[in-house]
Amino acid sequence: MKVINHKVPSVDGLGIMKGRKAYTDDFAERDSLIVKVLRSPHAFAKILSINAEEAKKLEGIEMVLTHKDFKRIPFTRAGQGYPEPSPHDKFVLDEYVRYVGDEVLAVVGQSDAVCEKALNLIDVEYEVLEPILDFQQAMDNDIIIHPEDDIHEMFNIGFKPKQNIAASYHMHIGDVEKTLNECDYSIEETFYTQAQAHVMLEPHTVNARMDFQERLVIYSATQTPFHVRRIISQALEIPMSKLRVIKPRVGGGFGGKQAIHGEMLVAYVTYKTGKPAKMIYTRKEVFESSYSRHPMKLTMRLGADKDGLLKAIDCHVLSDTGAYGEHALTVYMVAGSKVLPLYNKVDSVRFHGHVVYTNHTPAGAFRGYGAIQGNFALESAIDILCHKMDMDPIEFRQKNMIKENETSPIFKIMGEGTEGTAMMMETCKLEECVSRGKDLIHWDDIYPAKDKGDKIRSVGMAIAMQGSGIPLIDMGSATIKLNDDGFYNLMVGATEIGQGSDTVLTQIAAEVLMTDVDHVIIYSSDTDLTPFDVGAYASSTTFVSGNAVYKAAHALKTTMLQEAARIFDVKVEEVSFDGKTFTAKAKSLSLKDFSNEITYSESQKQLQETSSYVGPKSPPPFMAGFIEIEIDKETGEIDICDYVSVVDCGTTINPMLAKGQVDGAIVQGLGMAMFEDVKYSKNGRMISSDLLNYKIPTRLDINKLTTEFVDSYEESGPFGAKSVGEIGIDTPPAALANAIENALGVRMTELPITPEKIIKKLKEKNNEK
């Protein structure tokens, strides 16, 4: 292969480095109206009255929008396919506010300054209600966060709003209680994972204008332009044919931009006034009023026999979706469906629990959703069990983990919000990942730990799996056309958000058409001009959209060969094409001459093909993550010496970009493992709502990342590829907790694992002695 699995620089890297207009706000109209939201100061309240008369009189204020301006149409901002597996429990504006930062009303004016002034002149009378701020108290509480009767689920997701339940689910295989009773060894432990903030550097940004055909054109920093078009149309009752959503370059998403943010208000303002409008979230709004990761309480019970065979897994999960149920069920289910199949030889397994509403910032999609929470619990519990059995944790995993050409019944039972799809692991190189990682981290030299006086050095590890799109649901499409002069346009609905999908999809087309990336010009994510794609989520782009590109490029090649055969007056089987020249017997025709001929000279036509792809399955990428740390015995401070990731993602279409995905996800996972923490005050106000109070990893926190890929070729993927966008984030929390136990003999069960918590555990341990 000439382009695939080669180091190809990003197709857009140079222009972006040079500061070209690229991101959503770079395209806002100069005279855009500014849309600013008044946000709730209360965790839970009913709006009794709004007095905006003074504000409306201000020169430069165009309008003040309240819940009375909108027809009550419940919808979900989750940004999923239709019908959504999330409850329709949100209104554009509502008479209730359900968290500090929730939307009360919007002012629309000619400048930021006049909008700020107007916000200060508005009086809102609230009936302040008692909130629920502890998710363990939410279920069946007397306080009901969603008392309104006009909200609903689209299909059965276990939605019981009168009990504060956004979703619930139960599955079991075998009799887990019976198996656990029969096991020689069993353990039980409860784990807590925290809310994490996405902190993509580009805030949520949207702008709109009416075009000369009187259509509403929206530029949005979104991961899901086609879903945005559909959801705006449904919630604002604007005909979908009147809407165009364009996604320019996006400055990072990580799942946070899967959802709808300012789009509704900005679309409404422009549609109503005919004037361009825009909204950029402040960083405080990004923290407080968008989404964070679902906090979870996971209770894990494991049982094994004396030969070291894992026999039973019982996992109970309570998940906190905050004020609205975006992704409530899907994130929760992934904590089982993309975690439990790792150990597929058990006799019985159970996964059950609820997702509850609280009066906190809503939780939403976030890279590795559900999987990172479930992985922390399961992979920590495996080490706890190994310690109890005095078994080597790597040997235990090697004995019990899923292997190539095996399956798990969970794949069929659990999908994302619906039933799943049975599949065999046609590629699963976990064994290679584990043994290579063990060598790279020098496991045998360090395990369990080396005492170095003041500090102690140790290693820990975890294994993980992910998916490649949502099978039978996620659809991606590509259109490819041949131009005169012999180059191609590739139009994809797939959504580049910085992960490199434009580059990877270009490479796939170039490889099929035997050309270089400079001859394939990609254009992505414009609901008028590109074919449908669900967007960038669920690790789907390389696998789902990549397969669509692969099919479209092959279809175009076939059409080109047929046209060449017609020109040569030979059978199509007699024509060959090497990317530059068509030949048949003694005749030859360059691609350039061929494309010019069919454009200008004879039997003229546009050669173009469109293909779509829906995965019949979702082949999981796998990885083994190994951490080497040094802990200061006195302060509990941790230095990460190295993080080794050995990944099976099938073929790496672009090895550098694949490595970038893994490196970036590892660091984001380390942030969650070590210090990132969305914190609230006692009355529900977010404390960590800027980058001074919410720390993400800086370049000083990262010493060394060792990332490798094992040889792997997934037949169902484009050129053998599986996904790689999320898998990297899953292992750091469990690997770190396992390394700490190996060093200090204490088990950390609550994220983030801070030095203070370590010292506390050490003191508890010493007091027990």
């Binding site: 890297g13 040079k18 500061g19 910085g498 001074l692």
Partner: protein, 150 residues
């Protein structure tokens, strides 16, 4: 009020309010390489060079930038192109929202310290956050760029 700013070695006239920040003034004037990330100088994507020193423009009053030389990436296109090729070569560019500001900082570092080591690079650029790359590829690219430039 009227002010004059020296941007990329061109003197330009602006009509501003006294409280206007440099970031907004420059973006309004079409310098789109500057971007807003955090509003309080903690992310680095709004960086400009003031007399060749990196400064966050989101919290610098435009009028205070008078009588200084302001540099944006629009003014160091050749250097940005060069650095961009090293980034491409190492797979160090992802969303790119922080990249123009990084180009400015690396350029400033090069002017200050011809043989910066990895630790110098990390310390100099610590204010430039990146949520995508995990930093390692960036450091490789920057080290090679600086090494080849000296």
């Amino acid at each position: 009020m009227k002010i004059k700013l020296n941007i990329n070695q061109q003197i330009k006239n602006f009509e501003i309010e006294p409280g206007d920040f440099l970031l907004d003034v420059l973006r309004d004037a079409g310098y789109m390489s500057l971007r807003r990330g955090c509003d309080n100088t903690s992310c680095g994507v709004c960086t400009v060079l003031l007399d060749n020193r990196p400064v966050p423009s989101c919290s610098l009053l435009a009028l205070k930038a008078q009588n200084h030389q302001i540099t944006t990436v629009e003014g160091i296109q050749e250097e940005a192109d060069k650095l961009g090729r090293y980034f491409g070569d190492e797979g160090a560019d992802q969303c790119g929202y922080c990249n123009p500001s990084m180009a400015l900082c690396v350029y400033a570092l090069k002017l200050e310290n011809k043989d910066a080591k990895e630790e110098d690079i990390k310390k100099y650029l610590v204010g430039n956050l990146c949520r995508c790359t995990g930093y390692v590829a960036q450091h490789k690219a920057i080290k090679r760029y600086l090494g080849d430039a000296s």
